[in-house]
Amino acid sequence: MNGWTLTATAALTVGGGATVWGVATGPLRRRVVAQNLSTSLACPTLLLLAQGYDRPSYVDLALLLALLGPVGTLVFARLLAEDLANDPPRAWGLTYAVAAFGGGVVVTVCVATGPGRALVKLLVVGALLIGGNLTASRALAGGFTGSRRG
């Protein structure tokens, strides 16, 4: 076990446990936030594992998760729009913290990877991860009110 896998294990233990607990208990607004943050935490974990196990193919999984995770959250935001209208979730502190963690992991892995095609792929993953996370959080908080009218 090296530093990369140790960090991935710590992130999976703390973040994964918190998101499973958050999505299984409490009001609906906490559950949707936990669901959104679970994909935002799994993506940096896969990037850390790709570096720790020296398997660049895991970056493709992270890219797929960074792309499809916010899409799933947007589907939930559309599905639960009526239930969330009266009590919208507001967890911007957690959202920014997870986005900062993802950005930090992406920058660290970029430094370890060095210039090349893999660096471009990592930057795309980072942009999708942070942008998708912020967009999905804004949709959950009711930021895109026009989308509720279909």
Binding site: G16, V23, A24, S38, L46
Partner: protein, 74 residues
Amino acid sequence: MDDPLIVVALLLVAASASAAVATRDPSRQALVLAVLGSRTTVPRTDAQRMLISPRVSKARWSPWDHEGQPSQVP
């Protein structure tokens, strides 16, 4: 059990699957199942790594030893 990451990932999968079973409301159950789907990514990649890794596959899965002779598998 040598790698704590696999233990943590499998525990999270078991916990989220149990939470999905215990949740009765379909929309909330869908949220738990979404988290379960993202949680299964890590043990799946670990299983893939164990199966593909030449050292591990040679030691655990191949019926041939390092000299090309059939190993004594009971």
